[in-house]
Structure formats: structure tokens, C-alpha cells
């Protein structure tokens, strides 16, 4: 009866666990035996609407079947912090360079500085056999209780023995559910208890936890309840808590729905404007629930339905004529609900939800409380802080205790509790790798990744960064490439726009050997295939392609035949150092065929062009055999003075400079790929930026497709950066080579749809809107990332240090140039 519930309060003392094991806690003083599992963070932020519905339905079905009918339970959502120690422990090695060590340390400090909250969700169910099983007479038990003499450990063992099979079975079945739950560890349960009574964030230090058969003690906690809040003395001073629950009639009966109604997904509800990192954390939530047996649920609904009908009849018989509208709605809803239960479509749960608001002082506590209340008011949910029972609500939170106040319980289908989405999350990235940025999803944390681990995992080796100009792609690419180079990979990055030179500065800060190749400064003939391709026949074929492009020769034309003969002659030179594209030109000039001579003379003139010189020019051997080092380091390849053909201009109408541009790019990429293939025994990353410059052309798309396949064969990780997601999808067979995607903001819906396909999602209007509005402010550039496991979450790349940020900033600076006035300066109006 509601009337009785209003006055029912369990004021007994706090029931703490007397024994803890893996996945179980025991209290022999009325608290019972509880089985506990952890609901690990999954990747559900990006599953789309259809996926959201499926997972909600599945989760509801799982819980109503897996939690015994009539059993009590508790879900605890708590937060601790990500620390840099775990990152250091995983990444620091003895054989690291000083620069690499410094880089990892910078990442660890950033993880700690950003103060990422780390969620822990525990789900517990009581499997209490009741006191009847206990041996000994009632008198014996009474004496034991009266004198306080009881064998806690023995009693705990007895209780556990009678229920362990049930607990184990439940653990097993929860593991196979959609939640992929696993038994909660002793450390997780102990930490949860410590968090509640001491408000400590820190994880249990390694080695400090007692072992099986031992007794663990938490440091004593001083908790002072007051009328409207709780005060807890901590090592950092007093912490103030206020417990909120749902007001009577405060939860919408029918207006909440998915998507959008995930009422426990975002728990940053107590933040205030102006909060610095660490000032406020996500709110903790405790859900005490009871899985209502079917018969009981039907009975309860039937009683309510009878009352509703009685009210309707009474009203109609009198002057009122009609019962209030809520009576009629209740009749309809109750009838439908009973039908759903009878058809086994839903199960009912009784739950009490408590939110924990925390602050350093009372005034801030008041503000944060109001912020949380306002947040939920926008969802149609009314929260309040019940006075005079804050202490009971606090005790209810704690592992091992029980529901003390039935008055605030909500009665509803399991779908509404599971649809709150306090589970799930935005898991992303790898356990090991570099800290590259922040996971900005519903379960924030460091985004850890290492491109060069892809092939070790058996994954495709291509990563793409796509989005509009200025969206942050190049910065993300530079940071990923830098991380690899610092860690000892062979990394190469191309630069068409000339704004990525900062990566050289950043790499040198961490002691990375850097080689800079600029097409306007590189030695004449240094990109000639004969210089670096081992097989002269292959070199001859590549040289023919370059010359054909430079001269715009038709396929199978007579001119092509003349050039082919010349390249083949050069390929047969006995002395390797004499082979070069320039030698091919000399062969043509010295040919007896006037047409060949003319071709040779044209080429000789073209070879003077700065765009052609690196490929066609007279070999400059003064620098010795110019080949890139195959040792760890960074190669920065800059293309200067490119003149791109229009995307709709037929190749036959390209101007000479445009043909030479394409030839130079083709040669540069071929050189990079070839050199990458020669590197052995260390990770290799080739970052090709601003690919939209070449993807607009058929040859460009074919080239990139071949590059992706070649990269896989040569064990080279490719990092592709482009504005054209739509163009990227047109590259033959590329999509099968992509294992990781970073999708930055776009300007058109077509581009957003292309990004959706790259991410493996169905194009939806919500995604289009999201991508067009992705947050873009100075220093804040978010991308939607799909990792190699196919999980999706938003990521913001992190510069790690101010020095790296200054070095890598690609946004042009504008500054006023100060003009010194002349002595005879006239007045300026």
C-alpha cells in the first residue's frame, strides 16, 4: 500500500560487506549474499537508431530473465580517474630513446591534466537463502546476536555455500548476455566501498589489497548526516553530498522515448559554467531495484485497473459526468500493459534511483544540485532532495546495504531502466599505443592508438582522415605520424600545401632524425627511377611512364615506341651509375630518327623546368648515392610550386606545367613507396596528405588504390588525408583496405553520406546534421573515429604540449606590421 510505503523506513544500522570474493559480497546481519558483475564499457554511442532499439530490447529481455523473479538488486554507476601511471607502465621501456621517453611522459601528464573520468558500473543481485538455513537454535542465534559474539567468517561461509551455485550460474549467464558482464573483482568491490565512504578517487594501489583468507580493512571514515546533506571528512577536507531522487509523479508516464531519452547516459549534469577540469565530475548514480514477478505485477496492475474503472463509473453516475483524463489514460495504459506482460513481451521492475551530487562547500553544492535538477527538468524528470532522510538515502547507496525507503520506487517496464543507457559507452582505441587525444563520447577517456600495430592484429593497414579544409585533418595526421616517428618507426609525410613543415620542428624536439626533401631544392635527377629502382627493366618502364606524361604521348603511338626503345637501351647499360632518365634523353637526341631527335630535344628543354628537374634532369651525383636512410626517423617530402589541372579538363588539354606536376607527384609517391619497402625490421608509416588534389583525376584514384594494395604487400601503414570522402569511395578496392577512419566536419550532405559509408554506418539525417555541425573552434577540432575494432566515438586530437601546438599549427597567422613613422610624417586621419 502506498499509504504504508510513505512511512516505511529502514533505520537499522549500515550493513557493510563482511566478506568479499570475486563477484560476491556477504553480510550476515540482514544484508545477505550478493552476486556482483561489472558491466564493462562497450561501444554503443555510434550504433545508430536501429542498433539502439535492438540493444535496448535485448538488454531488457536479458535482465528480466537473468535476474531471479522477486530478487533485489542494485546497479552502481561510479567514476574514478584515468591516470598516467597505467600509460607509463604500458609504454615506457628500458631501450627507449630519451626523446621517446619524454614524449610518453608528456602524454602521461596530459592524461592526468585533462582529468578524464573513468566509469565503473557494477550490477548486483541478492541471492539470500534467508536465516532459516543457519545451524543452531533460535536461542543460540539470539545469544550470539545479543552478545555480539558471532563467527562472521564462518557464518559468511555458510551463507555463501548455500548460494554459491546460484551465484556462479548467474555469473555465467550474465557473461553470455548482451552486456558481456564479468564477475566483479575484489578490487572493484573494495574500491566501490571505499569510494562511497571515503570519497577517494584513487584506485587500490597494487599489492595493497589483502589476499584470500586475509582480512582487509578500510581506513575509518567520518560521515556526518544533516537534514539536507551529508558531510564526509576526507584526506582532502570535508566533502559535501546531497542525494537526489525522483519526486512523486516526477517521471513522465509516456513522453520519454529513444533516441534522445537516454536519461542516465550523460551524467555531466552538475557542471557549472566556468568549471575547470577537475572541478566537477560526472554524477554517481545508484539504482536499487526489484524484479517484480509476473503474477505480482499483474495483480498490481489489476488492482489499479479496478480502481480506475471504479472511478470512471462513479464519475459518470454523478454530476461530474466524466472522470479526469488521467483516469481514462490509466485505464488504457494498464490494459495494454497487462496484455504485454501476459504475452511475455515485457517484465516489470520496481526501482529507486539516487543521484549523488558532491562539492567542496555548501554553496557550490547548492548550485550543482540546482544544475542537476534543471538538467533533468528539461527531460521532464523532476528530481528533489528529500529532507530528513539524506542519511538513509546515503546508506542505501553502499554495497551490501538494502533499499530503505520504498516510497520513491518507480514501477515500470525493464525497457525504461535499460533505456536509460547507464551501460554501453564509447569504448575506443587500443589498450596499448600512444596517447593521441581525448575520447569525447559518453565514457570519456584517453584515445590510445598505434597505427603500426594494425598488421600485427591482422587488420588492413590503411587509415584515412577525411573532412573539409581547416577541419583538423592535417593536424591529426601530423600527430599520428609524429608519434610513430618518436617511437622508432620509419615515417614519411608528404606536403603539397607547404603548411606541414612544423612536424620537422616537433620531431627534432624529441630527437627524431629528420630528412627533408623539397622538390625545388632536391638534387637534379634524384627522383629518376634509375637512381633507386633495383631492376633496370622496372626502372625503364617507370621512366617511360614519366616521359609519356611529360610529353603527353598517346598510348601505343609511334613516339611512345621511340621512347620505349631508348629506355630499353639505357636499361641495358652495363654500368649502373650511367643509367638515368637523362641518359634516355641523350639516347633520343643521338638517334638517327629525326622524330626521336625532336622528342629528345623537347625533353631536354623540359628537363630545365623546376617541376621536371628532379625526374628528368641531369643527374647530380655530387651528394653521392642519394637514397633515403632506412633507419628510424622522419622523412618530410615537400612538393613546391604544383600546378594542378582542372578536374574536368581532359588530359589531352593539360598544360605543360600541369603535366609536369602530375609527373612529379607520381614520381615522388613511387619513390616514397619504394623506399618504404626497403625498410626492414621496424614499423613503417607513409602519410599522404591533401590527396583530394589527385583524387579528382582517374589516374589519381587508380594510383591511390594501387598504393593501398602495395602498402599492404610491403608492410607499410598508409595514412591518407583528403577533403574528398566521395572521391575516396570511388577509389577501386580501397574501402577493403581501410581499417581506421577519422571523419572531421564537412560542408555538404553528400560528403557526410560518404563519411557514413566509410565509417560503416547507414547515411541518416541525424549523422548529416552532426557532421555539418561538428564543433570547430580554435584548438577544438573533433572527429568521429572508427577504430580497427569497428567501434565509433568522437575524438579530439591532443597536441600534448604547447611547443608541439606552436610547431604544428597550420592556421595562418595575421599580424599588423608596425610601420616606423618618418620624421616628416603627416597626420593620419
Amino acid at each position: 500500500m502506498k499509504l504504508l510505503d510513505q512511512f516505511t523506513r529502514d533505520e537499522a544500522r549500515l550493513r557493510l560487506p563482511e566478506a568479499i570474493g570475486r563477484g560476491v559480497t556477504i553480510n550476515t546481519d540482514g544484508g545477505g549474499v550478493w552476486g556482483w558483475v561489472e558491466l564493462p564499457t562497450r561501444s554503443t554511442d555510434g550504433i545508430g537508431t536501429h542498433g539502439l532499439f535492438l540493444e535496448t530490447a535485448r538488454g531488457s529481455a536479458d535482465l528480466r530473465k537473468l535476474i531471479p523473479a522477486g530478487a533485489e538488486g542494485q546497479a552502481k554507476i561510479q567514476w574514478r580517474k584515468w591516470t598516467g601511471d597505467e600509460y607509463r607502465a604500458n609504454e615506457l621501456t628500458d631501450d627507449m630513446t630519451d626523446g621517446a621517453r619524454e614524449y610518453i611522459e608528456a602524454g602521461a601528464e596530459r592524461i592526468e591534466g585533462v582529468n578524464f573520468p573513468r566509469r565503473q558500473v557494477l550490477l548486483g543481485v541478492r541471492f539470500d537463502p534467508g536465516a532459516a538455513h543457519r545451524k543452531g537454535s533460535i536461542a543460540t542465534e539470539g545469544i550470539r546476536k545479543f552478545t555480539g559474539m558471532k563467527d562472521t567468517r564462518g557464518d559468511a561461509g555458510e551463507d555463501l555455500a548455500t548460494t554459491i551455485d546460484l551465484v556462479r550460474s548467474w555469473h555465467g549467464r550474465m557473461a553470455t548476455s548482451g552486456f558481456k558482464a564479468r564477475p566483479a573483482t575484489v578490487e572493484q568491490l573494495a574500491w566501490s566501498l571505499r569510494r562511497d565512504v571515503r570519497r577517494t578517487w584513487d584506485w587500490i594501489p597494487e599489492g595493497s589489497m589483502a589476499g584470500p583468507g586475509e582480512i582487509a580493512r578500510l581506513a575509518a571514515a567520518s560521515v556526518t548526516p544533516t537534514d539536507d546533506h551529508i558531510e564526509i571528512m576526507t584526506d582532502q577536507g570535508v566533502r559535501y553530498l546531497r542525494l537526489l531522487t525522483i519526486a512523486g509523479g516526477g517521471f513522465p508516464t509516456a513522453d520519454l522515448s529513444l533516441p534522445g531519452g537516454e536519461w542516465l547516459k550523460n551524467l555531466n549534469v552538475a557542471a557549472l559554467p566556468g568549471d575547470e577540469p577537475g572541478d566537477s565530475e560526472p554524477v554517481e548514480v545508484s539504482i536499487r531495484f526489484r524484479n517484480v514477478p509476473t503474477a505480482e505485477a499483474l495483480k498490481r496492475l489489476e488492482v489499479a485497473l479496478d480502481l480506475a474503472k471504479e472511478q470512471d463509473r462513479s464519475a459518470r453516475q454523478g454530476l461530474a459526468e466524466y472522470a479526469p483524463r488521467h483516469i481514462q489514460e490509466a485505464e488504457a495504459t494498464l490494459t495494454e500493459r497487462m496484455s504485454e506482460i501476459r504475452k511475455n513481451q515485457i517484465g516489470m521492475v520496481e526501482d529507486t534511483v539516487t543521484w549523488v551530487i558532491e562539492a567542496h562547500d555548501l554553496r557550490t553544492l547548492g548550485k550543482r544540485t540546482q544544475a542537476a535538477i534543471d538538467f533533468y527538468a528539461n527531460m521532464g524528470i523532476t528530481l528533489w532532495a528529500p529532507p530528513a532522510i539524506q542519511d538513509l538515502l546515503y546508506m542505501e547507496l553502499i554495497v551490501g546495504d538494502r533499499r530503505r525507503i520504498p516510497e520513491f520506487a518507480q514501477f515500470r517496464p525493464w525497457d525504461t531502466v535499460v533505456g536509460a543507457w547507464f551501460h554501453g559507452g564509447s569504448a575506443l582505441g587500443a589498450d596499448r599505443g600512444f596517447y593521441l587525444g581525448a575520447n569525447m563520447g559518453s565514457t570519456p577517456g584517453p584515445f590510445i592508438n598505434r597505427l603500426s600495430d594494425a598488421q600485427m592484429e591482422g587488420n588492413p593497414v590503411t587509415t584515412v582522415a577525411v573532412g573539409a579544409s581547416g577541419a583538423g585533418k592535417s593536424t591529426g595526421v601530423m600527430l599520428m605520424t609524429l608519434a610513430e616517428a618518436v617511437a622508432g618507426a620509419w615515417a614519411l609525410i608528404t606536403d603539397f600545401k607547404g603548411d606541414l613543415g612544423g612536424i620537422v620542428t616537433a620531431a627534432e624536439m624529441y630527437g627524431v632524425p629528420v630528412t627533408t626533401i623539397s622538390t625545388d631544392e632536391v638534387a637534379s635527377g634524384s627522383l629518376c627511377p634509375f637512381r633507386y629502382v633495383r631492376d633496370p627493366k622496372d626502372a625503364a618502364s617507370m621512366a617511360l611512364d614519366n616521359i609519356a606524361l611529360a610529353l603527353n604521348l598517346g598510348n601505343e603511338s609511334a613516339d611512345e615506341s621511340l621512347v620505349r626503345k631508348a629506355t630499353n637501351r639505357v636499361a641495358n647499360y652495363p654500368e649502373g651509375t650511367t643509367r638515368s632518365t637523362w641518359a634516355v634523353i641523350q639516347e633520343l637526341i643521338g638517334d638517327s630518327n629525326p622524330a626521336a631527335v625532336e622528342l629528345g630535344e623537347r625533353l631536354a628543354e623540359l628537363a630545365e623546368d623546376p617541376l621536371a628537374r628532379p625526374v628528368l634532369g641531369i643527374p647530380d651525383l655530387s651528394g653521392g648515392s642519394r637514397q633515403l636512410s632506412t633507419d628510424p626517423g622522419l622523412v618530410y617530402m615537400r612538393f613546391v610550386g604544383m600546378r594542378w589541372p582542372g578536374k574536368d579538363t581532359p588530359q589531352a588539354q593539360w598544360k605543360p606545367g600541369q603535366r609536369l606536376t602530375v609527373m612529379l607527384v607520381q614520381s615522388g609517391f613511387a619513390y616514397s613507396t619504394y623506399m618504404a619497402g626497403r625498410v626492414k625490421g621496424i614499423p613503417k608509416v607513409v602519410a599522404l596528405t591533401e590527396l583530394h588534389y589527385i583524387l579528382r583525376y582517374n589516374f589519381g584514384r587508380e594510383f591511390v588504390g594501387e598504393l593501398a594494395l602495395t602498402g599492404r604487400a610491403l608492410d607499410v601503414n598508409l595514412l591518407l588525408d583528403t577533403q574528398g570522402s566521395t572521391q575516396l569511395l570511388q577509389v577501386p578496392d580501397l574501402i577493403d583496405q581501410i581499417s581506421q577512419v577519422h571523419a572531421f566536419t564537412v560542408r555538404t550532405e553528400d560528403e557526410a553520406d560518404a563519411q557514413a559509408r566509410l565509417l560503416g554506418l547507414e547515411p541518416e539525417q541525424s549523422f548529416r546534421d552532426q557532421q555539418i555541425k561538428l564543433r570547430q573552434e580554435p584548438g577544438v577540432r573533433i572527429c568521429i573515429t572508427r577504430d580497427r575494432q569497428g567501434r565509433i566515438a568522437p575524438v579530439q586530437f591532443d597536441y600534448l604540449t604547447h611547443e608541439i601546438e606552436v610547431a604544428l599549427t597550420t592556421t595562418p597567422e595575421r599580424f599588423r606590421q608596425k610601420v616606423e613613422p618618418d620624421d616628416e610624417e603627416t597626420e593620419v586621419a
Partner: protein
């Protein structure tokens, strides 16, 4: 399906019932809780007045007024949507659970005399005794636990 509903039936199973007829037609109806609480207050009040010996007909308003006023006050809804009498009962129970602080928090010195103690015991500024929570538990290896024989 464009939306996945998340319904809650609490209000449906906690309907506030109204009495539409009590001998005579009551029009739009009177909440039964009002009638019940009013009846309780009226019954107790009548008993008290009869014990004192107050005549009904001479003091009709005295018989009816206070119970009516008490009923209105007791059935006001607070911010949590509860009747005021529930909060009153909770406050009384809370006072019983409170103890004078033995270990006062810094800035809250222990009361110096009986009058001070009385006032601090019953004012909002008074703190409950800090409860010292000492958590101690055995660590169990559940893999070693065998189920009880049935």
C-alpha cells in the same frame, strides 16, 4: 518504428481516487485521502473536546475549524510531490536518530551548558554525531567454495 517508448506506470498504479458520492453527490469528487485524513483529525479532535467537555452546538467552529485547517496543512504537497504530513513524520524520526555530537566537526564546538545543549539539539544547525564507518571484510576465494549439499 521511429521511437522506442520508455514508459513509467507509477502514476497509473498510484491513482488518487476521489469520492463522488457520500450520501449526496459531491460533484467533481473529493480526494479520498482528504476525507480519510480529515476524518482521523476530526475524530481525534472530537474525542479531545468531548473529554474536556466542550459542548458541540455552542462551539461548532471550534469542533470543525482546527481539523479542517490541520487537514489542509497536512495535505499540502511539498517539492517532492509528497503530502506535508510525511515530511513531518520524517523530521520527527530524524530528530530521534540524531545525537549530540561527541566529536564535533571543526568550527562547531560542543555546547557549553544545558541550555545551549537543548538549543543545539533542536535547531537546524545541530549536527548529527559523526558516524565512524569502519569497513573490515574477509577476502574469500570463491573458487574454493563448494556448494552446500541439498
Amino acid at each position: 518504428m521511429d521511437q522506442y517508448p520508455l514508459p513509467t506506470d507509477t502514476q497509473h498504479v498510484q491513482l488518487e481516487s476521489r469520492q463522488y458520492k457520500l450520501g449526496m453527490d459531491l460533484g467533481e469528487g473529493v480526494p479520498r485521502m482528504t476525507l480519510l485524513v480529515g476524518a482521523v483529525f476530526l475524530g481525534v479532535w472530537i474525542l479531545v473536546l468531548r473529554l474536556i467537555g466542550v459542548p458541540f452546538l455552542s462551539y461548532v467552529m471550534l469542533y470543525l475549524g482546527p481539523p479542517a485547517l490541520l487537514t489542509v496543512l497536512a495535505l499540502r504537497k511539498d517539492r517532492g510531490g509528497r503530502y506535508a504530513y510525511v515530511t513531518i513524520v520524517d523530521r520527527v524520526r530524524y530528530l530521534k536518530r540524531r545525537h549530540r555530537p561527541i566529536i564535533p566537526l571543526p568550527g562547531h564546538p560542543a555546547p557549553s551548558n544545558a541550555a545551549h545543549r537543548f538549543l543545539t539539539d533542536h535547531t537546524r544547525a545541530h549536527r548529527n554525531r559523526p558516524r565512524v564507518i569502519r569497513a573490515q571484510f574477509h577476502i574469500i576465494d570463491i573458487d574454493q567454495v563448494k556448494g552446500a549439499k541439498k
